[in-house]
Symmetry: C2
Subunit: 389 residues, 2 copies
């Protein structure tokens, strides 16, 4: 297992401490798996208690057996005040919490236990901090992308006529797991269920889903209405493969589309427009480029090619063409018209201009790019053309 | 896909409406996937707005295209008051929300949007309602258990000397998915990550984890410290298989343990004690039996056999021996000493008295039982002995 260098963990902690100071808060408590891992290189059930100047305290319920400075075992948050007192620390008047992720019940319980007049939300700030990656983090995304490409290279060997989309997905999941896929696929937000990624063929690509991902699909259960739904892979339809790049804690994201037999001309055309959008953004984007301008560029190319009715869906059209990736699959920035954000060095962004063609399926590609000082570095290096299976 | 009968959906809704009346509330909003599915047979991004007497309203953001009485498309919760007004409905003074699952930010936003003086929590009540299943629900658990047993029957064919636990798990996941496993594995609670279940061998069974499952394991990534960790399957150790029974929206839960080569006598002995606990509970438990008494029975048998140091773990010992199962893997009741609950007809409970033996691994079995009027019905019918692979 990869360990995060100690100096990097300290640098990350410093950023959070700066937020505490900026917001004139007294402390911050981190409880979500992703942010605990980010700051502490491990996950525990408990409270990572960050102070603006001194070392953090770890109030741990489980697992047993963690040693170190500031580690205190507790059964419940009501024990925290006494322990703070033993450390000669006051109760916080203003505490930062991950209010976008922590349940209402948990927040109220903490607020009551610590007798706090005020709490504030650090969820978005944590996401902003995590959006700018170090070389250590970016290298994990590069490594994941490399394995991702090796896995996708086995796609043609999987295909057999008569398969359904879910048959295909199961074969690909198996290869992914053998290649080190962690299985779990973390995303931010309530009810953002996903399992190992998404495969779409034919008109299932038009099925709108409740989730905030780029495309939909009906799924194999009403309990997870997303992705493959058992549609047979038929000549004249496409197979869009957007499976997880979860080979490291830090993920990449990559979509490729395959043709089953001969396609109508519009499929090749729209697929090429997606590649053209990629290439123009790859060549021109750099630190300072507005995310909204990337969206506008994609929209312009779409209009020039009269593909608006198919852009990011048909019945339901997503309003973004990409997103940051990292420990979660949907990190900032979001490449949308309403974004006020600009690209910054250290960001990793997945760009996914896609088109959904009725009667055919989805076309287009998704690549992950790292924002370097001089421009974008493409890291998902795998054949981009609409290749026939 | 299975559809829930309309009269059953109405009966479920009536139970929630009764809670609204009992708590003298004005309405209830359901937003989590599991509870939306339970009440509406589908998942959407939005608010399922339940009134004590009239039909529910569905405030939907996504997916597009849902028709029906009371369906209203919205972009944000701030639009709800105007729509309520169009229906001649007042703003609620007291609203029930799933406060254990909904984020603090979402609750505050709803509270502000609806200008509500008071909210209350319906999460636990929903779990209690869901704990008592109908025949329609129980049949799905029975069906899932049947497929689960068919999948486990392929375990001996998977095993090859030299495999690691994760190699083994990947082969089993593949068989599970082909048999219709939904992939996703829902559990209640914050940070309760799990992927398709858990396989433990050797001393990895002793590794404490941050999660609130029966046993631990180190996992293959610090981002998911649970279950298989790459330990080679060695002679003289056990392989405990506790993979998901997620073949229907309603799940069963089943653990079986296999011996790799010849085991020390204590492994057979402790495994038999687990089976004995099962048999005694199976024969004696019935509606009205206290969950705490089931725990005490298991604890007594454990003490009689001098197995206390190994009961439900070694370094970290779980304080429960079973739990309800259904749409989530950890439903009420919890079979723990502190429980005040009694078994009721319609419950589905997974019983998992397990022992962790240093140098050997975990032993014991887990079965799912349905609580009928006359007693327990065992539904996970599969060889229980410690079979050599």
């Amino acid at each position: 297992m990869i360990s995060t260098p100690k100096e990097e963990l300290i640098a990350r902690l410093r950023k959070v401490q700066q937020v505490i100071v900026d917001q004139q808060a007294d402390a911050c408590i981190i409880t979500t798996s992703v942010n605990q891992f980010y700051l502490n290189d491990s996950i525990f059930n408990g409270y990572f208690y960050i102070l603006p100047e001194s070392d953090p305290l770890l109030f741990i319920k489980r697992p047993i057996g963690i040693n170190g400075n500031g580690v205190e075992y507790i059964r419940k948050p009501e024990q925290i005040p006494d322990i703070l007192n033993q450390y000669n620390l006051p109760l916080p008047r203003l505490l930062l919490l991950e209010a976008d992720a922590l349940s209402y019940t948990s927040v109220i319980r903490l607020q009551t236990a610590l007798n706090m007049p005020k709490i504030a939300n650090i969820s978005q700030k944590m996401r902003e901090i995590r959006a700018i990656k170090s070389d250590f983090e970016l290298n994990q995304i590069r490594e994941s992308a490399k394995i991702h490409a090796e896995v996708y290279s086995q796609i043609p060997a999987i295909y057999r006529p008569g398969m359904t989309d879910i048959d295909f997905q199961i074969e690909l999941e198996y290869i992914m797991r053998k290649a080190g896929s962690l299985g779990i696929f973390r995303s931010f937000g309530e009810n953002m269920d996903i399992f190992m990624g998404s495969i779409l063929t034919g008109n299932n690509a038009q099925t709108p889903s409740p989730y905030d991902y780029a495309l939909g699909g009906g799924g194999i259960s009403p309990l997870l209405p997303l992705g493959a739904n058992g549609t047979p892979l038929k000549n004249g339809t496409t197979l869009m493969i957007d499976m997880a790049g979860n080979y490291r804690p830090y993920m990449d994201d990559m979509t490729r589309t395959f043709a089953i037999g001969k396609m109508p001309e519009i499929a090749y055309h729209a697929h090429q427009v997606s590649i053209d959008i990629h290439n123009e953004i790859w060549e021109t984007a750099k630190p300072g480029t507005l995310c909204s301008d990337l969206y506008l560029l994609a929209e312009k190319k779409t209009k020039e090619n009269q593909l608006e009715p198919y852009f990011m869906g048909t019945v339901q059209q997503a309003k973004f063409i990409g997103h940051g990736v990292g420990l979660e699959i949907n990190e900032p920035p979001v490449l949308t018209l309403r974004s006020k954000e600009a690209l910054q060095p250290g960001m990793a962004i997945a760009l996914e201009p896609k088109f959904v063609l009725p009667g055919i399926g989805a076309v287009g590609i998704e690549n992950t790019y790292i924002v370097n000082e001089n421009g974008l570095e493409k890291i998902t290096l795998f054949e981009e053309a609409l290749t026939t299976l």
